[in-house]
């Protein structure tokens, strides 16, 4: 199924609608910050409840580890097994084949408080990244 436009969180996760589900991943920018040296990804199992703004997993590079924060609340429906198996999928294509989880959202208004692609770019600029 086709993805909707992407929305972003200030903690560098993206979200996109796919039918009733929301696909969640990490932004290109964030992966670039980790030098694309991702060694390990930890994700919640399907069925787990995640809440917006709370950590739901981690991404590890060689010498950094970053928490992943859920952009929306809901129940994990699917996990990208490919990424768990080979973190290179995340390193190479974070906003495509390297998606992380699909969530059945339970608070639809959260979507609206996420940043649009343009707002996210502006936010990065403000933070001093170009």
């Amino acid at each position: 199924m086709a993805l909707s436009e992407k929305r972003y969180a200030k903690t560098h996760e993206w979200a996109a609608r796919e039918g009733e589900l929301i696909v969640v991943g990490v932004s290109e920018f964030a992966v670039e910050q980790l030098n694309r040296e991702i060694v390990f990804v930890e994700l919640p199992p399907p069925g787990k409840v995640v809440s917006a703004g709370q950590s739901f997993g981690t991404v590890e590079a060689v010498k950094t580890a970053a928490d992943l924060y859920a952009p929306v609340s809901g129940v994990v429906e699917e996990v990208n097994a490919q990424v768990l198996d080979d973190p290179n999928f995340l390193a190479q294509d974070p906003e495509g084949a390297g998606w992380l989880i699909k969530v059945r959202p339970n608070a639809h208004e959260e979507w609206n408080s996420l940043l649009s692609e343009q707002d996210y770019r502006d936010f990065l600029k403000q933070e001093g990244h170009h």
């Binding site: 040296e37 060694v39 390990f40 590890e60 060689v62 010498k63 973190p87």
Partner: protein
């Protein structure tokens, strides 16, 4: 199969193994062994899997490890200005005294009257550490700095529990702190709260915002990891105490002030000491160190059991301490290191210790001065025993702090600590220690300046380094992605 792991200069013990070879002559097995073993260790308790240990001659083992030692840099090899690690020279007389057979083969369960000499050493070291810190309750039990932090925080926890203040769940940790501090706090069930610094020191306003009835402890490193003495420390401690909290001092940087400042005077209630930093115990490629803790008298009742006591000239271990947090390890502590540290203090005396801090600070300032024209100096021209320079100027040419560190290896130096503290982007943290000489400081500075110059003109020469070490830069990415942490069994 070995070739899967690349060409090796020194094969592993397992590759060198040849069936049937022995490295030590043992004893003839007595004829009655089998029959005696039948009852004491019946077959069902015995190992069926092979041991998988290598079979090597003594000469093979010697050559193997001597070659490995040649591929290891120590303080005895070269200048080692690793910031916050206090890589000072380790006096050899300490090794001699600590290797006395009558210490080596003492046993913790011997009758105490047969242990008077070594117990006296332990007792006196406690007294000396108490004198130097002004915190007179001392335990030698913690095995390392982090272990000392953990133990001291257990004490804080017990103290608040007894006062009925279990709501004190937060530990304030300045953002310049070692990562160990928040990790130890979390280990003890506290919630670490980061305090942002301002101009390299604790920001009092920021501190004030976070202090309150939930505050259990402030964990502070002083001088901090930028090498700056927190000059508002008395005010900081006062505010923490006013709010009912305790002040924990991370003693990693005690070398900067040993003999000259007693932490109790600036309000520290508990601290750990790294005997392997300030008191010249060798680091051993990563331990064993020793992390004794010193606490204020009113907290002493919580110290781990046993503690050392003396009555009428008889030294003994005291176990009956109902408020104690309990043991944090077996037996008494890393005793060989206690003997080394004792020897060190006994040799230098109080005057010598004041020279230690004096020259540690002088050397750091002199080296900072030599480097300040070629590198960014984010926090001013004065420092205590260590300082941080910023490689951002060199980064513009594509040379990162890590590259500078690797290039230093080609000059024969061990590099400074890199990328710490986290608040300086291209941090190089330099601690020359008191035991180096002016000539070394100057040649090191010249190497750094030369690297900085090459960075401008031929950055690839730096990013390509090291070229003179046994291996060139290693692929840490695949090591972490596909970990191979044991040699495979054939």
């Amino acid at each position: 199969m070995a070739s899967d792991f690349g060409k090796a200069d020194v094969p592993t013990l397992f590759e060198e193994s040849v069936e049937g070879r022995v490295g030590v002559s043992l004893f003839e097995e007595d004829e009655n062994t089998d029959s005696l073993l039948e009852n004491v260790v019946p077959q069902c308790f015995r190992r069926s899997l092979p041991l998988g240990l290598p079979e090597l001659s003594e000469l093979q083992v010697m050559r193997h490890f001597i070659r490995l030692s040649n591929r290891t840099l120590g303080v005895d090899t070269t200048f080692y200005p690793l910031g916050s690690c206090t890589m000072k020279y380790n006096p050899k007389v300490n090794e001699l005294t600590a290797a006395d057979e009558r210490f080596l083969y003492t046993h913790p369960f011997q009758p105490q009257r047969t242990l008077q000499g070594i117990l006296k050493i332990c007792f006196e070291l406690c007294q000396w550490l108490g004198e130097l810190t002004g915190l007179r309750g001392v335990s030698l039990q913690p095995a390392a700095g982090a272990h000392g932090e953990f133990t001291a925080l257990l004490i804080a926890k017990a103290y608040f529990r007894e006062r009925g203040e279990s709501q004190r769940t937060q530990v304030l940790v300045p953002d310049t702190a070692h990562g160990t501090n928040p990790a130890s706090a979390a280990r003890c069930g506290f919630v670490p709260v980061a305090i942002k610094s301002k101009n390299g020191k604790v920001d009092l306003d920021e501190l004030q915002r976070h202090i309150g009835e939930k505050t259990a402890c402030l964990m502070i490193t002083n001088p901090n990891t930028l090498g700056l003495f927190e000059d508002a420390i008395c005010e900081i401690s006062h505010r923490v105490h006013e709010a009912g909290g305790l002040v924990y001092l991370d003693g990693a940087n005690f070398n900067a002030m040993v003999g000259r400042v007693r932490p109790s005077d600036f309000g520290a209630d508990l601290m750990h000491i790294n005997l392997h930093k300030t008191f010249s115990v060798p680091h051993g490629s990563g331990g064993p160190g020793a992390g004794p803790i010193c606490v204020r008298e009113e907290l002493a009742k919580y110290l781990p059991v046993p503690i050392l006591s003396c009555r009428d000239g008889f030294y003994y271990l005291e176990y009956d301490r109902p408020h104690s947090v309990g043991r944090v390890r077996s037996f008494l502590g890393n005793i060989p290191n206690v003997v080394r540290a004792y020897t060190y203090i006994a040799q230098l005396g109080y005057e010598g210790l004041c020279e230690v801090s004096g020259f540690a600070v002088l050397h750091a300032n002199y080296l900072l001065h030599l480097l300040s024209s070629s590198f960014d100096v984010p926090y001013g021209a004065r420092c205590m025993h260590e300082f941080v320079i910023d490689g951002s100027r060199q980064k513009k040419f594509g040379v990162k702090a890590l590259d500078i560190a690797k290039k230093l290896l080609d000059y024969g130096y061990h590099p400074p600590t890199t990328y710490f503290p986290l608040i300086v982007p291209e941090a190089l943290m330099v601690e020359p220690t008191e035991t180096e000489n002016k000539e070394t400081l100057e040649s090191f500075a010249n190497a750094m300046i030369e690297i900085s110059n090459i960075a401008e003109t031929h950055p690839e020469e730096i990013t390509d380094a090291p070229r003179t070490t046994p291996v060139s830069r290693l692929d840490e990415l695949s090591a972490a992605r596909n970990p191979v942490v044991v040699w495979p069994n054939v």
